[in-house]
Symmetry: C2
Subunit: 155 residues, 2 copies
């Protein structure tokens, strides 16, 4: 019995090690898919698709708010033609692998003016906090960003 | 044996439920103690005391950086007499109770000028991501904030 337990424990340890290595890759992949959807289907559609129902949002310059429904209403006011591009740089998961965050840099560009000129891009960074739901899907439960230096201005 | 397992499982479930209720209270208490230390012993001392060794920092308007050592060097440049007051509004923990975040509102006030006049306060909000280390102590592994509206300006 002791031996059986030892073997079971070893097998469990290996399974855990595998599970612990996975969540960062999973969160990074989900964040990349989220960013791709924002470019392909629009910022609002992507945020609604990847937000948890009780998401907490922390807009720069505005009051925090919560809930996917409120998010959808707010994001519906983003002007058509505006783009938000981002890429995660790093993901960090908690010890149990069901909660963590990604961070990365973002570029928001407003819609072109009537003469086709694009406004200046807004450079930022973000932290998205992710939780794996009961179905194994990662949803972001919080999202916050702030300003980053313009990389071109540093050259 | 089956009965014993069932009882053990029930006891484990109760223990888990208790453990799961705790981390939010723990994180809120730690964040409040962190804020109190920032007022009593200074912003830099408090951030160094509560940061994890590999903390990720996301200063508004600056590039992200990591590591408690770098944090200590950066925060050493905060002018004497500046204050940073904050209070957590809410804490959310992951399912396993060893990882989570708090958020709240903050007020940064620079040092008084030579004629004793205090500069205007900067209102903000923040998200701090916390992890319980091997010793059971909560340390923040990431910190990000951005601007909040001035509450007085809204009246």
């Amino acid at each position: 019995m002791k031996k059986l337990l030892a073997i079971s424990f070893a097998a469990w340890s290996v399974a855990s090690a595998v599970a612990w290595a996975g969540p960062v890759d999973e969160m990074m992949a989900v964040d990349r898919a989220f960013a791709a959807m924002a470019m392909d289907e629009g910022i609002a559609a992507a945020f609604v698709a990847y937000a948890s129902d009780d998401v907490r949002m922390f807009p720069d310059g505005g009051e925090p708010y919560s809930g996917k429904q409120t998010l959808a209403e707010r994001f519906a006011t983003i002007p058509e033609g505006a783009t938000l591009e981002w890429a995660p740089v790093e993901g960090i998961a908690g010890p149990s692998g069901d909660f963590g965050f990604t961070w990365g840099r973002s570029v928001y560009t407003g819609p072109a003016s009537s003469d086709g000129e694009k406004p200046a891009a807004n450079h930022g960074k973000y932290v998205s906090i992710w939780q794996r739901d009961e179905d194994g899907k990662w949803k972001f439960v919080a999202d916050i960003g702030n300003a980053n230096p313009d990389p071109d201005a540093e050259d």
